[in-house]
Amino acid sequence: MIRFEPSFFLERNREIDDVTLRAIAREVRKDILKMTSAVNSGHPGGSMSAADILVTLYYYKMRHNPENPKWEKRDRFVLSKGHSSPALYSVLARTGYFPIEKLKEFRVLEGDLQGHPSMLTTPGVEISTGSLGHGIGAAVGMALALKLDRSDSRVYCMIGDGEAQEGSVWESAMAASHYNLDNLCVILDNNNLQIDGPVDEVMSIYPTVEKWKAFGWHVIEINGHDFKEIKNALDEADTVKYKPTMIVARTVKGKGVSFMENRAEWHGKALPPDLLKEALKELGELS
């Protein structure tokens, strides 16, 4: 298992190569599948598409302190697409916010890992999310507060592409650029699938780049599974002045398991035992 001392995370832009990030992301994907299959519920598809970005944020980019989740100088992360909680919980556990064994508490009665992130029960969760379109507004509030306090901490937030159909997302988009929140970086997990099917068939959110630009954001388009591109985009966001940054990350729902990729049916359904075994094998788990 790849583990780092808590002190490793205290400075941004850490020395960590793409091979290591990829290995960690593979472990995270295995966690996602095991967690959801264990309770036969949860959202594996969108967790898998988000995994590489979350791993890059927590292992490479963000300044944070797993031993002291409320550390004043920390960068914040808000998972606005709260249903990808398995990915977040796995990354929080693996960076040391709580023991890996705790992942067994996902979605079980009186467990600390609620179906959607709850800040009151899970260390490292900055704010409770789950109902779509709200987390990004809370991220805007955090970024405003950090500006008031003249802090150099940054706020990261991930939204889903289906989530971008919520009008409140665009209320937040307006507010972030109106208040020149250059300490805010939002990542769009653009896997192009939502529960009822392809995003452009259910309700198109395209063209995304033009829309966010028109709302006054600095927009970067990347492959959300290429660690170099993720790192570069996050680095570029640091340098932008007076504008929030939107990273449009083209991703694959169910990424990492051949028979899950680009399939809407794995949005909110766990793998049955036989398919779980097959999937874990693909991810390199020795049985």
Binding site: I127, H134, G137, A138, G141, A145, E171, A175
Partner: protein
């Protein structure tokens, strides 16, 4: 009787709080002139955030500020703050139990000429159903000042409902507001009238008139609808044996419902509820609308007589 502005009292108190405490921040949705948060904006422009006509985002931003150690006061008209933004208040403020104070003006029918679209008759009901949320409906400027100061320094979410219309002053400076405590304004033996907001003014008028008819009315001002003062309701109901509630709100889900829940579980006595019936409002002058819906001393007197009949 002197009429006073609750929303001006709110704006003035915000300015005082802003001077005392740097954590106080204020958000509004393009109605700062009406809600009187503009008073704060003028003195502390860097701590005032106009979020435009976008109430859902405003609530979420307030939550983000609260989780970062600020004490946000969020204002707009009552129907937008509690209705349009209800689910943001639920998800991002109440569920994580964050320190956000939702203070809305333009509650009730006295919004007046703007009509049904702007008259919040459901706001107390909407906020009362949310876990962690506490709900307060003050009666006058003196109480509003105390409520605002109290909620600023009581951890967790609050909804405070203020009015567009000026209301008659009820209290003097000796009054002390406490969260969750009703206030006996007048002791009586025959019937208890429990009211809040402008209806407390009418409850006192009704009690005076009824006294001349030989009916002794206990008047309780219940500004905190949630958590409602169970002990006071039960004690008074046991003493008088009959209760009337009066509120400038739908009879569904507000003060009348809160009192009914307490009575039915603790000491069932005859209860009559005065409020707007299950209908939308309409345009008219605020004060005329109160009389139109029977939300006045005559409406209370009629309910008192009815409940006394049932008590026999």
């Amino acid at each position: 009787m002197e009429k006073v502005s609750l929303r001006d009292a709110y704006g003035d108190t915000l300015v005082e709080l802003g001077k005392e405490d740097e954590r106080i921040v204020v958000l509004d949705a393009d109605l700062s002139g009406s809600t009187k948060t503009a008073k704060f904006a003028k003195v502390f422009p860097e701590r005032f955030f106009n979020m435009g006509i976008a109430e859902i985002n405003m609530m979420n931003v307030a939550a983000g500020l609260a989780v970062s150690g600020k004490i946000p006061f969020v204002s707009t008209f009552a129907i937008f703050g509690t209705g349009r933004a209800w689910e943001a208040v639920r998800q991002t403020i109440c569920y994580p139990n964050l320190n956000v104070k939702v203070v809305c003006s333009h509650g009730g029918i006295t919004v007046g000429e703007d009509g049904a679209s702007h008259q919040a008759l459901e706001d107390v009901s909407l906020m009362r159903s949310l876990p962690n949320m506490r709900v307060i409906v003050p009666a006058d400027d003196i109480e509003t000042r105390q409520v605002i100061r109290k909620v600023a320094y009581t951890e967790g979410p609050f909804y405070v409902r203020l009015s567009r219309e000026k209301f008659p002053r009820i209290f003097d400076e000796t009054y002390r507001f406490e969260v969750g405590k009703g206030h006996v304004l007048r002791e009586g033996e025959d019937v208890t009238v429990i009211s809040n907001g402008v209806m407390t003014h009418f409850a006192l008028l009704a009690a005076e008139i009824l006294e001349k008819e030989g009916i002794s009315v206990e008047v309780i001002h219940m500004s905190t609808v949630k958590p409602v003062d169970v002990e006071l309701v039960v004690d008074s109901a046991l003493k008088t044996g009959a209760v009337v509630t009066a509120e400038e709100h739908s009879i569904i889900g507000g003060l009348g419902s809160a009192v009914a829940e307490v009575l039915v579980e603790n000491c069932p006595v005859p209860l009559e509820r005065l409020g707007t019936p299950d209908v939308f409002g309409l345009s008219g002058k605020g004060w005329d609308l109160l009389h139109y819906f029977g939300l006045d001393e005559n409406g209370i007197i009629a309910k008192v007589k009815k409940v006394l009949e049932r008590k026999k």
